[in-house]
């Protein structure tokens, strides 16, 4: 549904996108994660036809973003990371305005607006002025706005940003519901555990490149060959951390309630060698196991070399 090939974008001397390749399957919820400045917003802006790439190509539902921007706009609903609303417009007028802007026939609009407000739990705000809504309500209204023309693809840039936990949970439920409506969703967020819950696939971006991509289970399980080890010893935990840190295969070491959480990149032989070295170093090992990671840990493992070490 979304296909990006070798996309470049530079802002002066800064490279925002560096030969980005990305593919989002039809009907999936694809989470784009990465540190600030990784290029997520730039990639999304290009896909939303708001920015021109310096090179490469991108297509949404078979429409090239450069040569067919209007066709692309017809199939996407875009929600930017920061957005405002119009003062002096009621919720129903706000949605009616955007429906009109997408050439939705007037005869269909009233019913459509009612349905969309119901979908985002804002039915009781039909006649409220949009500038008086809470931030969470505005986010939900923006999501409804994205859906006025029944787009096939939703591009949501940090939709949960700045929301309280309750509002985030509500938004998460709505996004899950969108999947049932057969929408393809490209979503970026820095709240990784939540992204892990709603996404089918994730892509991890760093320095303008997609360094890892695939189903959430695969990413959290493998993470480009990296694994999360939990090592527990009887005593001298801090000393063990210092002993492990400089080793080649170790990405990061964290102390967690008397145990160590080690992100380790290597084959079973090197893992075995690590265990042997610890034992030979004089530590009494009570636990040495690979643990299942969440998305945040997978993200740290994949981007860890640049970030943590």
């Amino acid at each position: 549904m979304i296909k990006v090939q070798g996309m470049y974008k530079r802002f002066g001397k800064t490279t925002a996108l560096d030969a980005l390749d990305m593919e989002v399957p039809r009907g999936s919820i694809y989470g784009l994660i990465g540190p600030n400045g990784a290029g997520k917003t730039t990639a999304m802006s290009i896909l939303a036809t708001l920015m021109l790439p310096d090179g490469g190509s991108a297509a949404v539902d078979g429409h090239d973003v450069l040569s067919e921007p209007m066709a692309v706009r017809g199939v996407i609903g875009y929600m930017p990371d920061f957005f405002g609303v119009y003062d002096g417009l009621k919720t129903c007028e706000y949605l009616d305005f955007f429906a009109d802007a997408y050439y939705v026939p007037q005869s269909r609009r009233k019913t459509l607006i009612g349905e969309l407000l119901e979908l985002v739990n804002l039915s009781d705000k039909y006649d409220s002025y949009v500038d008086l809504l809470s931030r969470g309500m505005k986010q939900r209204l923006a999501l409804a706005r994205c859906l006025v023309h029944d787009p096939k693809v939703l591009i949501l840039d940090e939709p949960a940003s700045g929301l309280d936990p309750r509002a985030r949970a509500e938004l998460k439920e709505i996004i899950k519901h969108l999947k049932q409506l057969d929408k393809t969703v490209l979503i970026s967020s820095h709240i990784l555990p939540e992204l892990g819950e709603i996404c089918d696939q994730v892509g991890i971006m760093e320095k303008g490149r997609l360094i890892s991509s695939g189903p959430v289970e695969e990413i959290t399980a493998a993470g480009r060959g990296a694994s999360l080890l939990r090592i527990q010893v009887l005593d001298k935990v801090s000393g063990l951390a210092d002993f492990i840190k400089p080793r080649d295969n170790v990405v990061s070491v964290e102390q967690d309630e008397g145990a160590l959480r080690v992100i380790f990149r290597g084959d079973p032989q090197s893992r075995g060698k690590l265990l042997r070295d610890i034992i030979e170093g004089g530590w009494v090992v009570t636990e040495f196991a690979e643990v299942r990671r969440n998305l945040e840990e997978a993200f740290m493992a994949v981007t860890g070399e640049g970030v943590l070490k």
């Binding site: 090939q5 920015m51 090179g55 490469g56 209007m70 119009y86 002096g88």
Partner: protein, 278 residues
């Protein structure tokens, strides 16, 4: 016929608030106070009767005050048209709809112009005072109103273009006022300067340079005085077109070019010839 949604929204937003009737009232209050004040002063000096040439003076004062207000209000109305959307962070969302940038620009322009036209038309009853005493023909009044429309068009286009180019409304507003000031006073000063520089000292008639004639033909103050029948205003002309035709052509063409440029500048996909590097 369907109305562009941006125009509909803008009109709805503009005319829904209490600010609009307040601004119309203030506008009428300023113009009305000046005119009625002038009438009072004239009447106080010569009580009991009223001369037609006095009503002509009122007409000129009324028209000049209105021109000044048009130059003052129009850029203020349009200089935030696009930059305001940018500052409110609503522009990106608007640009991802199926509306064309040309449609957005024209709608923004029309909504601002419609309000300005409302302000100008609201002053029509004040012009009745002039008719009451005679001395002015309806064609002159129509000419002045047509002149306002053309002037508002370019001033509004300047505001929209500045608003598209500059990110901040403050910068856009100052630049718009600067350009309007150049049109209102700069052309007059430059025309006079060029006239003096090129003038050959000595007796005998001296033909005003074409550039000076042109600069005076596009100066709103000079053109208004000519419309009002002050034929001695400005030098002899030998441009093939009448002054009002030069004025209309320049203001309409410049306004259209600015609008075209603005819609092109606003379009995020404007570099269609860009070659992709694979």
């Amino acid at each position: 016929m369907s109305v562009n949604p941006v125009l509909l929204k803008e009109l709805r937003q503009r005319f829904r608030t209490v600010k609009s009737p307040l601004l119309v009232s203030l506008y009428l209050l300023v113009i009305g106070a000046l005119v009625l004040g002038f009438i009072y002063l004239r009447w106080r000096d010569m009580p009991g009767y009223y001369r037609p040439d006095t009503s002509r003076e009122i007409f000129i004062i009324l028209s000049m005050v209105q021109l000044f207000l048009v130059g003052f209000v129009t850029p203020g109305l349009t200089a935030g048209a696009i930059s305001g959307e940018r500052e409110r962070q609503t522009l990106n969302v608007l640009l991802t709809t199926r509306l064309t940038t040309r449609g957005i620009i024209v709608s923004k322009m029309l909504s601002s112009i419609s309000f300005m036209v409302l302000l100008v038309l609201a002053t029509l009853p004040l012009y009745n005072i002039v008719f009451l005493y005679g001395g002015i023909s309806p064609s002159q009044v129509l000419g002045v109103f047509g002149f306002y429309m053309v002037t508002v068009f370019l001033f509004a286009a300047v505001g929209v273009a500045c608003s598209t180019y500059f990110k901040r409304t403050g910068v856009s507003t100052v630049t718009s006022y600067g350009i309007v000031f150049i049109l209102g006073l700069g052309t007059l000063l430059l025309g006079g300067f060029i006239y003096e520089v090129l003038r050959v000292p000595g007796p005998g008639p001296y033909q005003t340079p074409l550039i000076t004639q042109f600069l005076l033909d596009i100066n709103p103050v000079v053109v208004m005085m000519r419309i009002l029948g002050e034929n001695g205003f400005g030098p002899e002309r030998n441009i093939g077109l009448p002054y009002w035709a030069v004025y209309i052509l320049f203001y309409v063409i410049a306004g259209l070019l600015l609008l075209l440029w603005s819609s092109s500048k606003l379009n995020p996909s404007r570099n269609k010839g860009l070659r992709f590097r694979m």
